[in-house]
Symmetry: C2
Subunit: 218 residues, 2 copies
DNA sequence: CTTTTAACACCTAGGTGTAAAATT
DNA sequence: AATTTTACACCTAGGTGTTAAAAG
């Protein structure tokens, strides 16, 4: 049972690193609370539907595949986490990030100074020192195995190249922007240039997102 | 202009590393001589056809993508260089290994002990110390842009999954083994188990091989 | 003449949402 | 009834040898 990618991916720009020093950049995803949610169609929002039953696992760490690299390398590009995979299988052995469906989560980005002879790999816990952690409120999302909100489905079909087969040629860019404008998570100063890059940097997930790894091969 | 992969790939098993130490494993490809070759059909062999005109470039280093890793990691798997790409474009800026067509080459494998705060990347030259270099005579090959020897073409079509579209369902495994047995580079003690893995470990290239990056996209 | 380039059909490999089936 | 799993058609992305045209 394979995981599925997060889409849109978390993408960050990093400043203020020391160009010559080596860094790891990593992501993990932490629960926002211990509540289980359900989506209420007639009010178009997620409502608390009970408490989490399972005991919280230690979040797995996804180390960006370019790690380790120099501060110079990290700063001159957008750092994209588009290859991270999510699963709801708590017995996962492929290093995917394990989440529970119908819960709220918040990605965290960790910038880790590389100390001499230190080697970080997937699923290792964070070092005690030399770590800076960042979260962005607009990246919060709710996990699902089946989409609850049709607008999210449309958003993904229209933006994810792998879903091109489901695109409706009749629906154009204008109506898509209308969908996006109905969400609060995209800052005003980005709206004029709604291209793929800006869209992803802002990580639009809103009220539903990132279906967990339901099947695929494996 | 993109490069093309080497096929079959160079694959090595490594022993005797210190399990806890970190190593880079890298490959480069050096010219065997300064001769230009042509293939003589009626005698089925490569003959000297003149001297190399171009001045020899410093060979580029292909660092195995798993680098750096511990001796333990390297030793418990076959290390495959199947993703290295070759090109005849001496202005290449994609980090591919640059070779001249119609010349003889020999791959080299470098095992590089990682010193503290040392970071090796593509196209960097080899460190002065802590490097062990290995070559295997049976991996020597001649570069081409168009295959000269029909047996090599058959071999690649039958063995490379990406060339499946050219396979002739009428030609079976027995006749393929006959082709292979006509070459000297496969040791006797491997013949009973001619599966894909053994085939590749022995890197059969013989009298012609690895067409340079002639086109593709890019 | 020989060798190289470019476009191409045909593959491998893997990421989509969908719909029906299975599970809880 | 709600949620999850599975198989699937349809994509992206990229690695093959072939062929005809281009280059030398």
């Amino acid at each position: 049972k394979a995981g599925r990618r997060m889409f849109p991916a978390v993408r960050v720009k990093i400043k203020g690193l020391e160009p010559a020093k080596q860094y790891y950049i990593a992501m993990d995803i932490i629960p926002v609370d211990s509540k289980r949610y359900r989506y209420v169609y007639h009010s178009s929002q997620w409502m608390v539907a009970g408490n989490t039953e399972q005991s919280p696992l230690t979040p797995r760490l996804y180390v960006h595949p370019d790690s380790p690299a120099s501060g110079e390398s990290w700063m001159k590009q957008v750092v994209s986490f588009d290859r991270v995979k999510l699963t709801n299988n708590d017995m996962d052995e492929k290093g995917h990030i394990i989440l529970q469906s119908m819960h709220k989560y918040r990605p965290r980005i960790h910038v880790i100074v590389k100390e001499v002879d230190e080697h970080i790999s997937v699923n290792q816990s964070l070092p005690a020192n030399g770590v800076h952690t960042f979260t962005f409120p607009e990246t919060e999302f709710t996990t699902v195995t089946a989409y609850q909100n049709q607008q999210i489905t449309r958003l993904k079909i229209d933006r994810n190249p792998f879903a091109k087969g489901f695109r409706d040629p009749g629906r154009n860019r204008v109506s898509l922007e209308r969908v996006m404008d109905s969400y609060p998570w995209r800052p005003v100063d980005c709206r004029p240039s709604l291209d793929f890059q800006n869209f992803n940097i802002q990580k639009p997930v809103g009220c539903s997102a990132s279906p967990l790894g339901s099947s695929c091969t494996g």
